[in-house]
Symmetry: D2
């Protein structure tokens, strides 16, 4: 049964500047948001920005690829909201996989580091949030949106590339996880989705790139809108996968 005291939150891993910040701001229009990133310095300005806009945000520095990081995060939330007094309405795994293009035979230990960190992060995060997403199915308020878990993918989620083995392995693996969780938790009422971001995202770091061609980079606020759209879908009509690319992208 829904309790009036139950708090529904959104939690975003990879809430640094760019896509993560856009997603955080979008979900903060409806939910208190919990923001995870490796460095507190990425979180503080975002928490402040959301707070000033009238939202509620908590930043928790956490490296989700490390064992224990998600457990201690969830414990901190239980202290914050009271054990059994919160559910997760939406969880987004937006942690970047390390992108590098390098000749396979020149690569060293780092070749698998990206895969292992990404896979571990995605798995740790999913294990930590799914019990709270399931609790939202059981105890959520009447009329709530189905609890949602979204993974951020990339072009390389669908296609390997010369020198891109490490990145593609990461992204293929996350897609495999997203599909497997969708097939396991969908029937339990949790909406699991995967977004293929097929293009350069417009961020501070990419602002020189294609600077003279308007709209040639993906607006991170529209990645956030797409994730919100996914969250808004009722359980009769779940989208598992969608792609996003600029109008002028070659594909």
């Amino acid at each position: 049964m829904a309790s009036k005291l139950t708090k529904s939150i959104a939690i975003i891993a990879g809430a640094g500047p760019g896509t993560g910040a856009s997603i955080a701001r979008r979900f903060a229009q409806t939910y208190p948001v919990v923001l995870l990133a490796r460095r507190a310095s990425s979180l503080d300005p975002l928490v402040e920005q959301i707070t000033q806009a009238g939202g509620t945000a908590i930043g928790i520095p956490a490296d989700v690829t490390q064992p224990g990081a998600m457990e201690s995060t969830m414990q901190q939330l239980e202290r914050q909201y009271g054990r059994d007094h919160f559910t997760v309405a939406a969880a987004v795994f937006n942690v970047a996989s390390k992108f590098s293009r390098s000749a396979f035979l020149d690569s060293g230990e780092e070749f698998l580091a990206s895969l292992e960190a990404t896979a571990r992060g995605a798995s740790n995060f999913s294990k930590a949030v799914l019990p709270f997403l399931l609790r939202a199915v059981e105890e959520g308020p009447q009329g709530q949106l189905p609890p949602t878990l979204v993974f951020t993918g990339a072009t390389a989620s669908l296609k390997g590339g010369s020198g891109l083995g490490s990145f593609a392995m990461s992204k293929f693996a996350v897609r495999a996880l997203a599909q497997s969780l969708a097939r396991e938790f969908g029937p339990k009422g949790v909406h699991v989705a995967h977004a293929i971001i097929d293009g350069i995202i417009a961020t501070e770091q990419t602002k020189e790139y294609l600077a003279d061609k308007p709209d040639a980079k993906i607006d991170p606020d529209w990645i956030a809108e797409a994730y919100w759209f996914l969250h808004s879908q009722p359980r009769s009509s779940f989208t598992h996968e969608l792609d996003l690319r600029p109008y002028c992208e070659t594909w």
Copy 2:
């Protein structure tokens, strides 16, 4: 340059009861809608319903699989709005392919009829509306949403099935067209998208099916919301393909 006199319309082929009607009602919240279906009898109640809700709708009986049907439709619209005085903001090809499961060797002439009708319909419709979608790119009002062409697909868009050759050929072919048009007209500013409807749609005809399991059929209003979401995307962030299925669907 945008002219104050230019009218932006939405046009839906396959605007019969069910999905087509939901799409029509959704787009009628913003645009005058032009509804195409083979029989006037499917159109009249929908036109009336939209009109009573404060929208504007025109029903044109047209079999888009027939040569000339779309030309005469567009000419009728030019008489209605004035030549060069309207653009198409959104066009939806929602004409059903005939679904039948039958042993291949027992099938007759009808085996290819579905493919040919669907392919011809999708092609005729696209040829007729694309000049007006391109005109919307050129002449549309400031701040308009990118003109959008959406095709309705199905499970069989991705996967053939025993006894389903005719239907799958239709659906694969439409997907090929959608991809080809997206790659040709995307760079010109037209958003071409394809939706994979993977499940039974909740309509009058399917109401007995899974009657005891709530939300086990796709809500057509949420197909319409998905199409509207596609239309709402700015050109920096086009989704070409998304799927839609009930939470409990096996896939």
Copy 3:
């Protein structure tokens, strides 16, 4: 029961110069081959070449996209071998879809001509040969290879392209048919396969193209070997789909 008098043949539609001829020569090492092409002039030299090499070949001019062409072909074979006295060990649909790249809005009636001819051809051919492939399952000699139906696909079987809608629709549709027939007739013992030819084929017509780069075009004899390999597989281990491309092809 296998009859000593039953003849096992191979039949190739699209047996013109290039890939079709290579396939014909390969299968003629084991079976009498029946060669279909629109023009007798493409068939005569090939029949002679196979005969001189010690094989048996019959050329039948036939446009498989035309109604009745396959029926009259099969009747001719019944006259030749005696009704109920032959089975089809292998059938290959290698009829080229018309390839053209053209702006969608500039295309005319021919836009759908390719799709309709290809789909009709593939369907007519399959309907005509499948009863004889099934008969081979029932009546074939001990130890024969499973009867096999192979369709030639292309890059555009998987991916639409700007200006390629007509060709891609054809190729997607054939792939849908191949998948559907595999799922229907595989369990009955017929091996249905689809080959994605992803690159330029080395033929008389393409000899100027990449002339200075050895092996940059697909050797049609190796398409033939791939088809023979498919035919050689026992029913425990059917390959439904494989791709073929030059080592230096970008994909």
Copy 4:
């Protein structure tokens, strides 16, 4: 330049009973084979069997998922054949990923163990053999077959499943690696391929399963034939991916 003293070998990781043994026997018809498996006890009978059949085989117990295992394997081969005196004609990564179906939230540390071991194994193996495959391109004898690297995949290479996240992540990641290596090393003349084994393989362990239905399990000798077929292809006509399934498999 090819040296008469250069030895061309085949090397198979995962050469235990079943598929690995079949592949080893098939390639031993042409090359000395180097067999890797975790336990010497799996290797000894196979080495003896190949030797008695007139082939040459070396078994090297090695856990390719462990750092250093492949380096010491390759050093052992250099001692055996002489530094710079051997090339790898064919390398097969057939190491099984641990298959388990378990509820995601009940899984522990082992959830990622499969992925990490498989990814590490596939990456270690590829890094160790590719220099010798490239050397085969440079120094191989006239008329040799293009050096080939084949990865064994599964149904779960293409599709996640409820409770199968761990296995699917492994298999998706290997496919990503295979695609990336194909795109990097194909243009250098190395044939990189990926086989999707979609069904139960007929082995000692599976002999009770479907025991009453002949040919319902994949014959491992025909997996081996498929790998040999891949190896036999000239560089004008490389197959990157093929599937293999019993005629009666649902897919």
